[in-house]
């Protein structure tokens, strides 16, 4: 009898071990940030949390080119219970393209901003920040609680929203129903639901490979030979954007998620509804921006304030720390504003239609003549594709035989031959005889790989070299014919 009881208790304990449903994830600082000395690391962490938050407390930073999702409505009256508002008319309406991905029934946690329609400029004076702040819809005013005065404005969140009764329940940071001083006709904005949904979908579908911070080092990534993308440089390999436009467009990211990357572990998410994929894409862009902000902060600080730098310096630690505090006080505001402007500019450029690579001529039909011209370009001296891809396109050209310096360690040779990508991996030129094209196998995809190169890799942009009419199409036709050739190239 005793033995049975022991076994039952033992079996009862087993399933309880390892149950961690609902544990909150957190962002990691990059390897570079970890190398900063304590006082600098603290400031970087603080700035990243102020601009991006944590996966459980997302920050809507309207300077960034991200669709956080927005609902808006007008206050009809203050509701019966404290912290509730009744919304006019049909209730909250979608005010940004991605908002609809999170249903109206499930807006819990989204930010609530209430503003009086006539005093938008007035409230901008009260809130701290840069001068010249414009009252455009990109900036939100926080007039929710007049008693808080200048400086700190309270942040309000949705507790619940009932579309049927149009009753919005608002709480403050501590979950206490908010003391709102609003009047009929005030504007209500709900911010962030699309980012919330993107975050949930990302954690569910993407995080295990790509990591919580988008660093390509999730729990499953260690088993892969071809690593998942690390978004934090803001670079993605397979883009439709021009060579001098470093970021991918939303369309590029959508394609990658929907179609996957054949030949790698990135699967196709074709079965996810389009709306959800758009939300994931938006979250990925946001993660990339966070990574880029971290890199920019490090580029500014690490030379003087990394652990190594501080150890090298002759001054005592307290002096360096106060020099840092002075430098931060002096420059941080301007620098961070500049960094956010760069992020805004770079990502917006990528979505502009004029920056998509569109061939000037229609595709040259894959006749034997075109394929022969393409072969000559591939193997000849003008484009010299063969120097990396090999004469027969197997990816074994002479460039792959050299032992190159390890990235970031000039003078230290790698013990493996081959060229590196910007993520520090040895990357092999594509074996074109296999007919597997990671970035897409449509002729236009291959055209774009040749025209703009594959960003982040040694595959360079041939757009200015192969500039005669039809040249790139000839190479595309040849490349598409390689899997069907005899063993000897070109016959």
């Amino acid at each position: 009898m005793n033995r049975s009881i022991c076994i039952i208790l033992f079996c009862a304990a087993l399933p309880l071990v390892g149950c961690e449903s609902g544990r909150a994830p957190s962002f990691q600082l990059s390897e570079q940030s970890q190398e900063l000395s304590g006082f600098a690391k603290e400031k970087v962490q603080g700035e990243l949390e102020a601009g991006f938050g944590t996966p459980s407390n997302l920050v809507v930073w309207s300077e960034l080119d991200v669709d956080f999702g927005q609902y808006s409505g007008t206050v009809k009256k203050v509701g019966p219970r404290p912290g509730t508002l009744k919304i006019e008319g049909e209730g909250l309406a979608v005010a940004s393209s991605l908002a609809g991905v999170r249903s109206l029934n499930d807006l819990k946690g989204a930010a609530v901003v209430v503003s009086s329609p006539s005093s938008v400029t007035e409230s901008n004076d009260e809130s701290s920040g840069e001068d010249g702040a414009d009252a455009s819809d990109a900036r939100t005013s926080e007039l929710a609680d007049t008693s808080s005065g200048e400086g700190e404005s309270e942040s309000y969140r949705v507790a619940s929203y009932d579309p049927a009764s149009r009753l919005l329940s608002v709480v403050n940071e501590n979950g206490v129903p908010a003391q709102l001083s609003v009047a009929k006709g005030d504007n209500v904005q709900i911010l962030g639901p699309a980012l919330q949904e993107g975050r949930n979908l990302y954690l569910r579908h993407c995080m295990h490979c790509h990591g919580v911070s988008g660093d390509g080092a999730g729990p499953t990534a260690q088993y892969f030979k071809v690593k998942p993308r690390d978004y934090r440089q803001g670079v993605v390999k397979f883009t439709s954007t021009k060579a001098n436009v470093p970021r991918p467009s939303r369309d590029d990211l959508f394609r990658i998620v929907k179609l996957g990357v054949p030949g790698t572990y990135m699967p196709s998410f074709m079965l996810l509804p389009d709306e959800e994929v758009h939300a994931i894409v938006e979250y990925v862009r946001w993660l990339a921006m966070r990574g880029e902000m971290e890199r920019k902060l490090n580029a500014w600080l690490s030379l003087d304030y990394s652990k190594e730098a501080v150890a090298d310096m002759e001054e005592p630690a307290e002096e360096i720390e106060s020099a840092f505090a002075e430098a931060w006080a002096d420059e941080a505001s301007d620098n961070i504003t500049q960094f956010s402007e760069e992020l805004q500019m770079d990502w917006q450029e990528a979505d502009k239609e004029e920056n998509v690579v569109v061939p000037p001529t229609e595709r040259v039909p894959p006749s034997p003549e075109s394929i022969e011209r393409g072969r000559k370009l591939f193997q000849g001296n003008k484009a010299k594709c063969a120097s990396c891809h090999g004469l027969t396109g197997k990816g074994n050209g002479p460039s792959t035989e050299s032992f190159n310096d390890l990235p970031g360690q000039p003078g230290v040779k790698s013990d493996k031959a081959g060229l590196f990508d910007i993520w520090g991996n040895i990357v092999k030129p594509r074996n074109l005889t296999a007919g597997v094209f990671r970035g897409g196998r449509r002729p236009i995809d291959i055209y774009r790989r040749i025209h703009s190169g594959i960003k982040g890799t040694p595959m360079q942009a041939f757009g200015s070299t192969l500039n005669k009419e039809g040249e790139i199409w000839d190479v595309v036709n040849y490349v598409l014919s390689i899997p069907f050739e005899n063993k000897q190239g070109g016959h």
Binding site: I7, G129, A299, A332, I336, P458, Q460, A461
Partner: protein, 286 residues
């Protein structure tokens, strides 16, 4: 048998109970079920005192006419002879052009017979405040000859176009790896050239490479002020027209990296300040 039954049934029942949430469906993993809240960022609220002293750039007195700095950077001891990166006739790519008539030297440490170290960057990390200067009309250009980048150390201004040339009979590409700009990777066919630019100043010099001829490498520094120089073949450099004041210069060499993070140089009005800095083999990891 009863024990075995308990062994199987009890955990199974518990697993079912624990796996079910209140609604009876399976929870999504990865922490997706944890709650999220959203906060709106008001503005870039970083307390600034707006002090005029720049800590690593320098303090400018703005009293008196500009002076100048002329300097020499020397190797302390006998410089080691480095083996060529490609011995004559052994180039794996394009041997008809690369290393055809001679070795391709290892330019990672170039020391003259007089001990002067070439290709050392001397620069202020940022321009001193309160001083205005004009951008130059022209920038140096990068060229490629006999499968070697020329110059090996390139000093550029941000925001200005510069030219990439290929004077060789074989194609090359130039892949840049900057820290504060976006890298580019353009192919250049024989005899062609193209213009590009760097938007931002860089905190330190960065390498750029050719993928087709992987031994090819050169270093670029991008600045947004005129107080920067590169040592020539004799290890000499000059910074003319610098306002009087106390400065902290960075000295960077590709092999030694930051030889100096902030070496102090005092500039007096209308005077040439001479400096001589020496670095030995240990500074270069040799």
């Amino acid at each position: 048998m009863r024990d075995l039954t308990a062994l199987v049934i009890v955990p199974a029942a518990l697993l079912v109970l624990i796996g079910c949430t209140e609604s009876g469906s399976i929870e999504p993993g990865g922490g997706a079920a944890s709650p999220t809240a959203v906060t709106v960022r008001g503005g870039v609220e970083v307390a600034g005192t707006g002090s005029t002293a720049s800590t690593t750039g320098g303090e400018v007195e703005l009293i008196g006419d500009p002076g100048s700095i002329s300097g020499t950077i020397l190797f302390d001891g006998t410089a080691p002879k480095l083996a060529p990166v490609v011995a004559q006739g052994t180039a794996k790519a394009d041997p008809a052009v690369c290393a055809k008539n001679g070795n391709i030297p290892d330019e990672s440490l170039v020391v003259s017979t007089g001990g002067g170290i070439a290709n050392v960057f001397v620069y202020l990390s940022k321009a001193p405040k309160g001083f205005e200067f004009d951008k130059p009309a022209e920038q140096p250009f990068l060229d490629q000859k006999a499968c070697i980048f020329q110059p090996h150390a390139l000093l550029l201004w941000s925001g200005l176009d510069f030219e990439l040339k290929n004077s060789d009979k074989v194609p090359h590409n130039v892949q840049t790896f900057p820290a504060r700009n976006s890298g580019e990777n353009n192919n250049l066919s024989p005899g062609s050239s193209m213009k590009t630019s760097f938007r931002n100043a860089e905190p330190a010099p960065f390498p750029s490479k050719c993928a087709i001829h992987p031994w090819m490498q050169y270093w670029t520094l991008v600045v947004d002020h005129p107080f920067a120089a590169v040592t020539d073949a004799d290890g000499k450099f000059e910074i003319p027209n610098i306002p009087p004041g106390k400065y902290k210069f960075r000295v960077f060499h590709e092999r030694g990296e930051m030889l100096e993070r902030g070496v102090e140089v005092v500039v007096k009005p209308e005077t040439e300040t001479s400096v001589e800095w020496k670095y030995g083999a240990s500074s270069f990891g040799l």
